[in-house]
Each structure stands twice: as C-alpha cells, then as structure tokens.
Amino acid sequence: MNVSVKPVRTAAISASNIDASYDKVKILKQAGIEIEHGKITTLIGPNGCGKSTMMKVFTNLLNYQRGQVIINGEDIAKFTTRKLALELSILPQEPITPPNLSVKDLVEQGCYARVGALGMLKQQDHDGIKQSIHKVGLSRYINRDVDSLSGGERQRAWIALTLAQNTKILALDEPTTYLDIGHQLEILELIQGLNKKDNMTVVMILHDLNHAAQFSDHIVVLNDGKVVTSGAPWDVLTVDLLRGVFGVEASIIEDPVHGTPFIMSHKSILNLK
C-alpha cells in the first residue's frame, strides 16, 4: 500500500521547478527554493540573475509557467490576494512613494488585508501602527511626509508598513539599498530582532555577501535563473562559488566576532565584453 506521508514540518514557502518569464524571455529555469519557518533565508546572485523575479513568483506578484509554489502547506493558487497578504508581507525592490503621504498614512495601509476596504475608512488598529513605527524608530517622524525623509528613513517607513501587516513571513527585496553602512546594519539588526524575538520567517535579497553571511541561517545562490546551491553560510560561500558565480577572486576568513564567513574580494575576473 502506498500511503503518502505528510512531512512533519512543512516549509513556510516552498517553490519547486519554477519556470517564469517576462513576455517571451525565460528568466527562471527550473528554479526551486525552500524557506523554513522561523529562519532567515537570503537570496544572493549577480545582477539580473532572477532574484527579484523569484521573489515575485513566491509572493504571487508574477505568474509562472511551470512548477509549484506552496505557502504554509497550501498551493499559492488557492490563496486570494487578501488571504495571502495575511500570511506574508512584501517589500519590493524600489517601492513608489506617493507624494504628500505621512509616515502614519503609509503604515496604516498595512491594515488593509485585516480590516478590509471599508474598515480602512475608520481609523483602526492604532496600537499596531504605532508599534510598527516605533519598532523602526520613526516615532518622531510619524507626521512627516514619507517623500521628505532621507533614503534610509524612507526605507524604514516601508519596513514599518510591512510590519503593520502583522504577518508571520516577511519578504524583503534589497532592504538595505541606499543606506550607509550604519543604517544597513541597523536595518539588518532590526530584521534579525524580528526573527529572534517575534519568531518571524524572513526571506530577503541582499547584495552584500558579508551581510548575507552574518545575518542568514540559510543562503540560496541564484545564477542565470537557476539555483546553484543553497545551505548554511559556511557551506555555500566558497572561493569557487565566488569565482564561478560572481566572477571575483576572493579569500574567505572567519569573522572574529560572529564566527561567520567573511569575504575579502581581491579582483574581478568578469569579462564584461
């Protein structure tokens, strides 16, 4: 008798054999990814390899041609837009900031899925909104226009929006772009705190490999629309990988503080022509 046994622990997100394309151009080729509950998973890879595309696929922002995406044990096709927004929140790579919107106005929109369109007409969930703004340290700017904030403050406002959505899974596409090194670490520590304290599942895309190494439980490497390798930082980040995927000669040492891999890049061996 062939009884299919349900896995004891289902992944938060599991995408398998994904083919996805824009118009006719195939971007993802048989790509698969597993995101575990309560872990920080980071997607890395060179520009244009399909990281954002992958994230769009498993957050239902892009239709895929082949494969399957399962969120919390259920096929993503079974979710309505609203139901999915209760499970996972997304911060795209370059969010559009509408003019004349205060931080509070922005963050309040995070309640949409929970209170519904008509609920949004009343002002609801003040505490949740204030908490989210507080967590990213923007309480002082709560009445300021988002488009008048600095790049880093704006990024934190967007993160507050995803927090106000109050989901278990957080998907962030390059949350540290535009930020200086101090604010990069601040955001990443904030994300780590959400993961450790609130047990949130985080999946993000980063370009800084050392940050990926320091903050991730799990790293997924994409190249040319395929998943090259994935696993713990020490297993994934190797001199060969850096040469093959990123085109750099590098050496890897142990970070004396965190014990994570630390990459020193020496020289590009990319042939851009």
Binding site: T59, T81, R82, P99, L118, S139, E189
Partner: protein, 367 residues
C-alpha cells in the same frame, strides 16, 4: 550613537496619539463647510433679475411663506437651484479628479485630460443627434447613462493607448487623453452638422459647460445620481489609496488589482459623466481642487476626497456666481469686443483658470 531603536521611553511615541493631519483636516472641513454656506448665501442674495434678497426673504420663500412676491419666488428658485447644481457638479468633478490621479499615479490626471469628459459629451451629442427619439420626460434620466457609457469607452481607449509600452507614464497618458479628447471633440462637431437647427444651439451652449438652464428637475436627477454613486466612492477610496503605491505593493497589501481598478475607474467616470450630463463640458476642476488640497491635507484619499467635495463645490459655485454677475459691460471693456448682453458660461472661466493652473503644475512635474 543612540539610535532610535534603543529609545524605549520615547516621548514622541506617546505624543502621536494626536494625529496632526486628521486634526488639521477636521478644521479644514469646518472652514470649507462655512465657505460653501457663504457662497451659497451670496449666490442666492445677489444676481440676475437685479433683485437683492436678504436672508430673511430667502427663508420666507424656502419655507413656503405666502407673503412673498412672485419676483422673490422666481429669483430664489432660480438662484438656489443653480447654486446647488454648481455645488454638486464641482464636488463630483473634484472627487473624480482625485480618484483618477491615484489610479493613474499621475498628478496631471484630470477628467478632461484623460478623455473622460469628452467621452461623456460626445456620447450625449451623438445620441441626441442620431439616437432614437425618446419621450421628453425620460430624456433627463437617460442622458446620464449614455454619458457614463461614453466616458467608460473613451477612458478605456485612452488607457490602452497610453499603456501599450507596459506602464502608463504621466505625460504619455495626458498626450493620449488629449488625443482621444481631440478626436472625440471633432466627432462631436461633425455630429452637430446633422443636428436640427432647433437644438443645435442648445447642444453648443451645453458643450461649453453652462449652468444657465438649470431646473429643479436637473437638481433632482443629479442628487439621485450622486446618492447612488456615494457607496461606490466609499468603496473606491481605500482601494485608490493603495493604487497610489503601484500594483506590486497594492497586491502585497491584499488588494486584488483588476477588480479594484475597474471599480475606481467606473466611479471616477460615472462621477464626471453625471455632472457632464447635466451641465456639459466643465474642465479642470478635478485638477485644481485635489492639487490645492493635497499639500494641506496630504495624499491620503480618506481625507482628500471629502475635502475635494466641499472645495470643488465651492469653486464652481463661486465661479458661476462670478460668471452670471460679471456684467457684459465689464466684459466689453476687458476684451474690447462687442459683447452686449452676453454672459459667458461658467465652463469658460474654469477653463481659463484651469489652463493657468495646468501650466503651473506642468512646470513642477517636469522638474
């Protein structure tokens, strides 16, 4: 560095209980309501028939007091219906503009610049000239439907023309809107050639956007239409709010993109169309009003839309008051043209005002 994150006893955190924008907004609504009331009073007190009505006389007429002269009755009825009409038209157009701007993510989106108004006017003219004859008493109630249909068709065409490259760019949208509007306006003029002389003039006057022929029947029709559309506005506001962020974020926050878009587009088209159906092509209200308010109440449509209703209403009411009281003698002196006993329709004044405003914004958008 003491970062914000480590501040646990954050003073600002407690202060945010007072949300400044909503507070400011309440005061603004009050001020706008007073403005509307004053405009209404002035509109009724002063005007055509050279009779000045003090508020007590107005009240006497409105409350049905027998002790009023025929002239007082006529003047009050005429001016009151016209002022109410102006108010509703302005409010509807301003809300329509605010919704379109959110939907298109474009500060220049405006019913008359995105093909909505011309779609409505053209449909009405074409129907009046070529359509089946309908009983007189039904005309007033069928025109809005025709106008809505026309607005939706031409908006959809504009959308697809502007959208061909994958996304709708601000200036491309306006370009296409003006293009579609221009083609439709020509179609309107061509249709007018076939119109019997008896109502060709009426149609031309109507096209320029005039409140001169307002009757209580018109007021009733538009109030009913706006009442029906009110729930649509309520449903549209939170959705349009999310649309300002673009499809990905709106969808990530739980909004189904296409149903939301259709709802907001329909509401914006219908609001403009029912206004146009009664008073003709009045433009730029949907551009000027949301813009002037946005810097004050912010871009959140939950505050913007109610404020738009009041300010749009006041704007058209005041402009119409000026339009019908600016004596032809003054017009003659300003323009040097022989304009004896001519009053220009309110639409002309609003276009003049709006044109200047548009140039002003265009400069800001480009930079």
């Amino acid at each position: 560095m003491m970062s914000d994150l480590s501040v646990t006893n954050d003073q600002a955190f407690d202060q945010v209980v007072v949300d400044r924008r909503w507070l400011k907004w309440r005061w603004l609504l009050l001020a706008l309501a007073i403005l509307c009331f004053l405009s209404l009073m002035i509109s009724i007190m002063i005007g055509y028939h050279s009779i000045f009505l003090v508020p007590s006389r107005i009240w006497a007429v409105v409350s049905g007091d027998e002790n009023t002269s025929k002239l007082e009755k006529i003047a009050t009825n005429f001016r009151l219906s016209r002022a109410i009409m102006a108010f509703m038209v302005g409010g509807a157009l301003a809300i329509s503009g605010a919704l379109l701007q959110a939907l298109y993510r474009n500060p220049l989106a405006e019913p008359s610049l995105t093909g909505v108004t011309q779609g409505a006017t053209t449909a009405v003219v074409v129907f009046a000239v070529f359509g089946p004859t309908i009983p007189n008493h039904l005309v007033i109630y069928s025109v809005p439907f025709i106008a809505i249909l026309g607005a939706i068709i031409s908006t959809t065409i504009t959308w697809f023309l502007a959208n061909r490259v994958g996304k709708v760019e601000p200036l491309r949208l306006i370009l296409m809107g003006v293009l579609v509007g221009g083609v439709l306006s020509s179609a309107t003029i061509v249709s007018l050639i076939w119109a019997p002389d008896t109502y060709a003039n009426d149609l031309i006057a109507w096209l320029a956007g005039s409140l001169a022929a307002t009757t209580w029947e018109d007021v009733r029709m538009l109030s009913i239409a706006l009442l029906i559309l009110t729930p649509f506005v309520f449903l549209s506001v939170p959705r349009a709010n999310l649309m300002q962020f673009g499809d990905d974020i709106a969808s990530g926050l739980g909004q189904s993109i296409n149903p939301g878009r259709i709802l907001v587009l329909f509401t914006a088209c219908a609001l403009t169309a029912v206004a146009v159906a009664t008073v003709g092509g009045i433009g730029f209200v949907g551009l000027m009003v949301p813009h002037s308010l946005r810097w004050f109440v912010g871009g959140d449509l939950r505050r913007l839309v109610p404020a738009c209703f009041l300010l749009g209403g006041a704007l058209v009411m005041v402009t119409d008051f000026i339009a019908r009281n600016l004596s032809s003698r003054i017009l003659m002196e300003i323009t040097g043209l022989p304009m004896d006993s001519v009053t220009l329709p309110v639409g002309i004044y609003l276009s003049l005002l709006g044109g200047g405003f548009f140039l002003f914004i265009l400069k800001k958008v480009k930079t």
